[in-house]
């Protein structure tokens, strides 16, 4: 179980390779990669600024990961999350999960992402030709998070 929050870009291939290396106890490794999208839809370049609370943010992500690890069949997980200034096309977050079988691996990646979208202590600001705008989670993000309560 491991969490990293970093302002430096992360290498998707290197993180995945390191996570997979030497494992003989798993039959499934699932992953999700969140990427920075240009919010201006071609009308000018936007950048994303992700503010975070050092120490506090990592602990909150560790709590989400701990809850995810309680899922039956999950062997290992890793979350790497960018912070600071991020440009369109750059990876923002990678979530990796290893399990003996595919169902728990896929499910726990979805669980972590649905909780990251609402419970992770980040504050997003979109900077573009129309100025800067701080973002709050969408109702659909809250619904996705809430759907795990019923399971």
């Amino acid at each position: 179980m491991s969490v990293s929050v970093q302002t430096a870009p992360f290498d998707v291939q290197a993180e995945t390779a390191a996570f997979c290396a030497g494992r003989t106890d798993v039959g499934a490794i699932a992953s999700f990669l969140g990427v920075c999208r240009d919010a201006t839809a071609g009308k000018g370049v936007s950048t994303l600024f992700l503010d975070y609370f050092p120490g506090f943010t990592e602990r909150a992500l560790e709590d989400i990961e701990a809850e995810a690890r309680a899922h039956v069949g999950v062997i290992e997980t890793r979350i790497v999350h960018r912070a600071g200034l991020i440009h369109p096309g750059e990876p923002i977050v990678i979530v990796l999960a290893a399990a003996a079988h595919r169902a728990p691996a896929l499910e726990v990646v979805a669980f972590i992402m649905d909780h990251l979208k609402t419970d992770a202590p980040f504050w997003k600001r979109e900077d573009g030709p129309h100025g800067a705008r701080w973002i709050e989670p969408l109702p659909s993000d809250h619904q996705a998070r809430a759907s795990w309560e019923k399971k």
């Binding site: 506090f56 602990r59 923002i92 990251l116 992770a120 600001r125």
Partner: protein
């Protein structure tokens, strides 16, 4: 000990001039009163129920929470999520 003040997210711009709590402030409530004198616009934003306070990394809800020995007091607006 004098605590560092940290404003997260959209509060960063509004609280930019307030870097350190002054000496002699004992509670969170007294800190808010000081902020209200120094920067009334910031104080009103911080009073929103949706802005949480963390003392040395732990969320507090008690306005009488002691801050004399705190190293850092952070104000957290609603999160955007990851």
């Amino acid at each position: 000990m004098v605590a560092r003040l940290l404003f997260l997210g959209r509060l960063r711009d509004q609280g930019a001039d307030l870097e350190m709590a002054p000496a002699g402030i004992e509670t969170l409530s007294e800190l808010r009163e000081w902020i209200a004198r120094e920067a009334p616009d910031v104080a009103s934003v911080l009073h929103s129920a949706r802005v949480r306070v963390a003392i040395d990394g732990e969320i507090v809800h008690d306005e009488n929470a002691p801050i004399a020995e705190a190293r850092e007091i952070a104000f957290l607006p609603p999160m955007s999520g990851g």
